[in-house]
């Protein structure tokens, strides 16, 4: 099925000063838009446009002959998931069932933060850091380039884009500062809660 580029769930300037309007304009209108358009072309060529984007991602993961389709499918999906993982006034320690589950599975919120920061900062080159549900437990994972946890049968709950385009205009080389800001001021715990409820 053709995949539609979603609008951002907030205004382009809604995440300032943490993520600039310019970054969101390029990230959404150029990068995400291009992944979506390329996906829609390639999925038709591959004769797979009767499938949902999630089905396509799972079906062709690891198939080197479908690398370009996979990259664009996964990047189209990942960015939509990323926009929802951010919110103005987000971040900080979640309360309620999400907070309880984090404490139960990581030991403490600080432990989670440490694991997530390590994953995001050590994903060498381009990629993503994720909070996922794996067999009922919370886990932090990192993935290179376009890869996402769907291919490993995990349920993504939250993600951070650590491709340099996600932060270079605002943070330049300081990826660690971007990660810290995501956790303190941007992470959308309501989205995590929704994803946990659906899982």
């Amino acid at each position: 099925m053709a995949y539609a580029l979603p609008d951002l769930p907030y205004d382009y300037s809604a995440l300032e000063p943490h993520i600039s309007k310019t970054t969101l304009e390029f990230h959404h209108d150029k990068h995400h838009n291009k992944y979506v358009n390329t996906y829609n072309e390639l999925v038709k060529e591959a004769g797979m446009d009767d499938k949902s984007i999630e089905e396509v991602i799972k079906a062709i993961a690891g198939d080197s002959s479908q690398q370009k389709l996979f990259n664009n499918a996964a990047q189209a999906w990942n960015h939509t998931f990323f926009w929802n993982s951010l919110k103005p006034g987000g971040g900080g320690e979640p309360s309620g069932e999400v907070g309880d589950k984090i404490k139960a599975d990581f030991g403490s919120f600080d432990k989670f933060k440490e694991e997530f920061s390590t994953a995001a900062s050590t994903q060498f080159g381009s990629g993503w850091a994720w909070l996922v549900l794996d067999g009922g437990s919370l886990k932090v994972v990192k993935t290179p380039n376009a890869v996402n946890p769907l291919v490993d049968g995990q349920t993504p709950l939250l993600t951070l884009d650590v491709w340099e385009h996600a932060y270079y205009l605002d943070y330049q080389n300081a990826r660690a500062k971007f990660i810290e800001t995501f956790l303190s001021s941007l992470a959308n715990w309501d989205f995590v809660k929704e994803n946990m409820a659906k899982a």
């Binding site: 990068h31 060498f124 080159g125 990629g127 380039n145 376009a146 270079y168 330049q172 080389n173």
Partner: protein, 251 residues
């Protein structure tokens, strides 16, 4: 980097290296314990290993307008400095590896102890790739190849234009982060690309020239338009140095 600092670094002896490093990110000069008015270098583990961040061979703004000074500053002072620091740190408890050149480490990457192999691949690659990158660019660059490399390119690719097109395609199609390369492989010129900081040396090929297509190399100026960066980059390519590398490789 100012000309003054470059000359300063250039003329420094090894014993004064620590002082020069105080100008490098991650290495901070601090006052010593109370009562001692002299300041000393705080030695960060790995900071003072065998590999030094080479100074840029020109000013930060020398490649304007094709590559802006701000990009050069971050690229050299932060990214390249980081790879250098991490490489030194990775081999800090392996004296036998500290005797080797960085290129040797990469050529023999599979024999590097497993616990540091990935770190050496990433940071040794980053160290060597960027060292070459600064040298194969010049404010007096651009134009067409000269010397033996010019004939070799025409032979192998048909024309300089055809080579440029193949090289740009290699850069554009490297998904994520990486490098586009012209390499010498079994005596022949080939255009390839590599992921992240992987060096052609790791596959037994010699890097004649390479262009950095990590987003940090172009994002401040060219944003998402990697293709435009690849096209403009030819304006700063130092064919004299590339010819020197080629002639050395075939010698």
């Amino acid at each position: 980097m100012s000309v003054d600092r470059r000359q300063f670094l250039f003329f420094l002896g090894a014993s004064a290296r620590a002082m020069a490093l105080s100008a490098v990110p991650g290495c901070t000069a601090t006052a010593t314990v109370a009562g001692n008015s002299r300041s000393k270098m705080e030695f960060v583990p790995g900071e003072n290993g065998p590999f030094e961040l080479p100074p840029l061979p020109y000013d930060y703004d020398a490649l304007e307008p094709y590559i802006d000074a701000e990009t050069m500053r971050f690229h050299h002072d932060k990214h390249h400095a980081g790879y250098t620091r991490n490489l030194n740190s990775a081999i800090s408890s392996y004296p036998e590896l500290q005797e080797k050149s960085a290129e040797e480490l990469l050529r023999n990457i599979e024999s590097i102890p497993e616990e540091i192999r990935k770190t050496v691949r990433q940071n040794g690659g980053g160290y060597v790739n960027h060292k070459m990158f600064w040298e194969i660019m010049s404010p007096d660059g651009g134009g067409v190849p000269t010397g033996a490399i010019a004939a070799a390119i025409d032979d192998r690719f048909g024309s300089f234009e055809a080579f440029k097109e193949e090289f740009e395609t290699a850069g554009k199609t490297r998904f994520g982060s990486g490098w586009a390369w012209l390499v010498l492989k079994d005596g022949n010129l080939e255009v390839i690309n590599t992921l992240n900081q992987n060096s052609p040396l790791m596959d037994g090929n010699y890097p004649i020239m390479g262009n950095d297509v990590w987003e940090h190399a172009y994002y401040l100026k060219y944003r998402n338009d990697r293709g435009e960066y690849l096209r403009q980059w030819w304006n700063v390519v130092n064919w004299e140095e590339i010819d020197r590398r080629y002639e050395m490789a075939i010698a």
